[in-house]
């Protein structure tokens, strides 16, 4: 075999080239593989991250629903506490009268002052007052039954039912309540939820008045028609809300009340109810004398016009 040196060298060069190119191919394929791995790894990482983000988003959501639920439970407890205190106020007077009637009878017996007339009068008074107690139970039981569906109600009736429940507690705080009815405004709504909102606004006004004002405490409840809506306002002369915090008052857990009654949920719940359930809006503003809360709700006529 004759080795052509050149040829050999050529071929060897070729070989070498081939080798090199082969190496090149191997290198590039390796590099590609590595890149692919890297890409895969990155993709995996990305997937994981996405998964994680998704997961954490989910858990945030879970937590939010949990928080919402807790919020509802807490606010229900707060509402319950308020209810009990309202019942207590409502019952104080009749209980005291019943006790007085029985004690009078006892005194008459012991002091030999018994007469049929006195006995009859005392017995009748006791009966009358027990009817008051029953009436309170009926009022509150009605309030606690959940609204199954929307019903047509006059705004003035909702206001009246609300005052029936809360008036004693306002009166005992020496607050004068005035109601202004402009028109026979009728709405289709969850009446008891609207009552809950009104009770909350009135309780807030009461707390502000008791805290800031020694005498001349006043609350004005008014309603008027504005286009296709009814504007329901609860205003007090309790000094108003700090302008600096006015924009935060509807946030959950925000409270200015130092005592145990301040859960910071009342206004938040009121806003949720008004917006989501009653399809209205709620806002607060200050007047010269105090705070006003304005609830705007769609009138029945307005909905009919929409349907047409």
């Amino acid at each position: 075999m004759i080795y052509d040196k050149d040829l050999v060298s050529e071929s060897s060069q070729q070989y070498n080239q081939t080798l090199t190119s082969n190496r090149n191919i191997t290198e590039s394929s390796l590099r590609m593989r590595a890149m692919a791995y890297l890409a895969q790894a990155k993709a995996n990482l990305l997937m994981e991250t996405i998964f994680e983000v998704e997961n954490s988003r989910k858990s945030i959501q879970d937590e939010l629903t949990y928080k919402d639920e807790m919020l509802f439970i807490q606010s229900r407890h707060a509402a319950m506490g308020e209810m009990i205190s309202m019942i207590a106020h409502q019952w104080r007077q009749p209980i005291s009268s019943i006790s007085m009637g029985a004690n009078s009878i006892l005194a008459d017996i012991e002091l030999d002052m018994m007469s049929e007339d006195n006995l009859r009068e005392n017995a009748n008074e006791i009966i009358k007052q027990t009817q008051e107690l029953s009436q309170t139970i009926d009022d509150f039981r009605g309030f606690f039954q959940p609204d199954k569906m929307k019903q047509k109600v006059f705004v003035k009736d909702v206001i009246q039912d609300t005052l029936q429940i809360i008036n004693s507690s306002l009166v005992s705080s020496e607050i004068e309540v005035r109601v202004e009815h402009q028109k026979e405004n009728e709405i289709e709504t969850y009446a008891r939820e609207l009552m809950q909102v009104l009770i909350n606004l009135l309780n807030n006004a009461k707390d502000a008045l008791v805290q800031n004002r020694a005498s001349g405490r006043k609350i004005l409840i008014s309603q008027k028609r504005l286009d296709d809506r009814v504007i329901l306002e609860v205003c007090d002369n309790g000094g108003g809300i700090d302008e600096e915090i006015l924009h935060t008052i509807f946030e959950p857990y925000f409270t200015t009340k130092s005592d145990k009654n301040g859960t910071g949920l009342g206004l938040h719940m009121s806003k949720t109810i008004v917006q989501r359930h009653l399809l209205g809006s709620i806002a607060a503003y200050n007047t010269k004398e105090g705070a006003c809360f304005k609830v705007s709700l769609p009138l029945i006529g307005a909905e009919r016009e929409d349907a047409r």
């Binding site: 005291s96 009268s97 007085m100 009078s104 005194a107 012991e110 002091l111």
Partner: protein, 131 residues
């Protein structure tokens, strides 16, 4: 005559000023108090009570509610104490827990509503003071 009637005979001449802002309580407790005392003058708030006390000055017993508009029962009692350190003052409270709080202002703090049992205690104390 039973014991309670004897007790009542001894204290019925004492003059009583009764102060409460709630009309129903005023009527109910007012009538109740008149079963024990011959003279019971009734007022609707602390300011009215203080003015009446100043005008007549011969009251032996003051029975008052705490929470009232214009002038509350505690402030009124402090003023009355200044005028007449010997006045027998009973403070009626709607809530539990205020019992010991007002000891140095009143001679007795009772929980509303005033009962026949409460009146026996009040009458006994008044009688022992008079002796």
């Amino acid at each position: 005559m039973n014991e309670i009637k004897v007790l009542r005979e001894k204290i019925k001449k004492l003059k009583v000023l009764f102060v409460d802002d709630e009309v129903d309580i005023r009527n109910g407790t007012g009538i109740f108090l008149r079963k024990f005392f011959d003279t019971v003058v009734i007022c609707g708030n602390g300011k009215e009570g203080l003015e009446t006390f100043l005008n007549q000055q011969d009251f032996d017993v003051v029975i008052t509610d705490i929470v009232m508009p214009v002038l509350d029962g505690i402030e009124m009692s402090k003023e009355i104490r200044k005028i007449d350190p010997q006045a027998y003052i009973v403070i009626l409270t709607a809530s539990r827990g205020t019992k010991d709080l007002e000891k140095n202002i009143s001679n007795m703090t009772l929980q509303k509503p005033l009962s026949f049992e409460d009146m026996l205690v009040v009458m006994n104390q008044l009688e022992s003071r008079n002796d």
